[in-house]
Symmetry: C2
Subunit: 345 residues, 2 copies
Amino acid sequence: MNAGVVSIKDVAKAAGLSVATVSRALNGQSAVSDDARAKVLSAAESLGYRPNIVARSLRTDRTRTIGLVISDVLNPYFTELARSVEEEARELGYSVIIGNADERAELEAHHVRTLLERRIDGLLVSPADDHSPLTLDVADGPTPVVFVDRWIPGCATPVVRADGREAIRDLVAHLYALGHRRLAIIAGPVTTTTGRERVEAFRAALSEFGLLLPESHIGRGDFQTRSGRLATEHFLDLPKRPDVVFATDNLMALGALDAIRERGLRVPDDIGLAAFDDIPWFPHTAPPITTISQPTTELGRVAVRALADLISGKPARSTVLPAHLVVRRSCGEPETSAPTGGSHT
Amino acid sequence: MNAGVVSIKDVAKAAGLSVATVSRALNGQSAVSDDARAKVLSAAESLGYRPNIVARSLRTDRTRTIGLVISDVLNPYFTELARSVEEEARELGYSVIIGNADERAELEAHHVRTLLERRIDGLLVSPADDHSPLTLDVADGPTPVVFVDRWIPGCATPVVRADGREAIRDLVAHLYALGHRRLAIIAGPVTTTTGRERVEAFRAALSEFGLLLPESHIGRGDFQTRSGRLATEHFLDLPKRPDVVFATDNLMALGALDAIRERGLRVPDDIGLAAFDDIPWFPHTAPPITTISQPTTELGRVAVRALADLISGKPARSTVLPAHLVVRRSCGEPETSAPTGGSHT
DNA sequence: CTGAAAGCGCTTACAG
DNA sequence: CTGAAAGCGCTTACAG
């Protein structure tokens, strides 16, 4: 409608009042007469006034915005996390700006830097690398930070995450019961807590069952699709291929599926597949994929609340939520199903 | 490290120069002596100075930020779009703030309002509703806007989108060739351009083959999973169920899969399924899903460039990119495959 | 209840 | 090449 942007001064002029009163009226403060308030509101309305948040932020030193730096937007797990974070933040009166690190430390640094320059009130980050100096600095700096999903050991920063160890142990028990002995894993980056944790838990569970995890059965992935495919191809080239491959996130499981399918092999007959993260597609793949499910939505909510506490000067505690095994058919038939037919649906 | 945030004034003091010179040096302007520049840089470095973008924005009246309001973050199509938008924007020196409308007009309005108050330089929006007055206002307002994916007819706002009509015609031809005659569609909201376009193109293609699209074969969805499931249940309850269901986005196809699987039915033997949008999981479902693929990444790039043009005062044109059919096995065996085995992998 | 004034942290003509 | 000063649009003590 109008080309120039209307400021509080324009509203004040139209209402015949000072900008101070306009400001107070617009912000719903009590110390304004009903008459003045009415004049202000109608003037603002008819001029199409929109408060300039950047000016307000400069003045109040608060942006009512939090930053969320996630490892990969293309990963449905992080997407669900982002959605949950935004929802909870909105309820608490915060906007959220998402930065996608794409599993690259330097992109993560870029987003953290940009977010800080924007003077966000707090930061939620899933660090791509334990040793990212920037992220470390930030964690020690004045801006409240909460780690989510991944964290940096030895940092005082609170972390909200799921613990997959128990579920991984359950997975190994499940595989063992099905008769699988040659188990392989596609790991995430060793620079990453979740990358290391899942391998260690897997190895520990294996040894509990008297099984070993040879180097050749550890695929080095980066939590992205392509690396899952590559690692799986390597496994398939082994003189004796593994009975089951455990992909430690959903994207690498997708890559594994790509590789297996390309060779014309079948899951679970030729090789079993298990994953980490449950996503809506897993019940519909051929066959449905056995996986470890994280309470993703809850993780997002809890992380936001922890950050909000920090922002308002309250202490925040770390939270560890449990993950759990979801058995489907990608590692072989569970006992309860009919022995045939099911996986051929 | 330090509790208080350091400002340009602190740097000026440390460097023994004025804030004006500091500003010029930091912004890489030529009119600064090498000596001064060096002093400024080292002072900024050692103090850990970070420019306050909100102050800069207030002063320059530019935020170097664009807003992106998408219909649903949980939809991989929009996620891919968002990623592409962010990438292209970053290359052009813009940050992007994403708002998730979750297919709700009032949430969309919330995000548009918030983004405008943040004084973004431009807005990319996929309107959830043709008649959203807020979005209409914005399109007429001073902030540059480009519609992406969906648009509002009769608006002068440029739109960047894919045209699915040709591909839908190809799909119908494919279905017809496979012998299917009873075709059903799960539509998106009628308030939405893509919602309407896909039904109309489907109907037109059907009539080209002498087929009708009765009301009972049109499911009213909202582009989200649940609605796809509901519509499909309805189809399955029909006295004579359709040969094939065409879900007009990937999430509703997921819902359709849920419904079909719950009844213990099989695709394509009991009922065929086709989708709109191609996503990485479709080759791996049971069976792989025939779909219409959009040039999503390209769409995002082109939209950002159009918006950047608008922002810098140049005119921007609308762009329509083609979508294309990807035949897999969810509507029956294509001729090239072996008649058995394939879909039972 | 209301207004004049200061100030948030920058950038940028304007002088010199 | 450098600095003093104005001003972006707000909010908020401080008076009255």
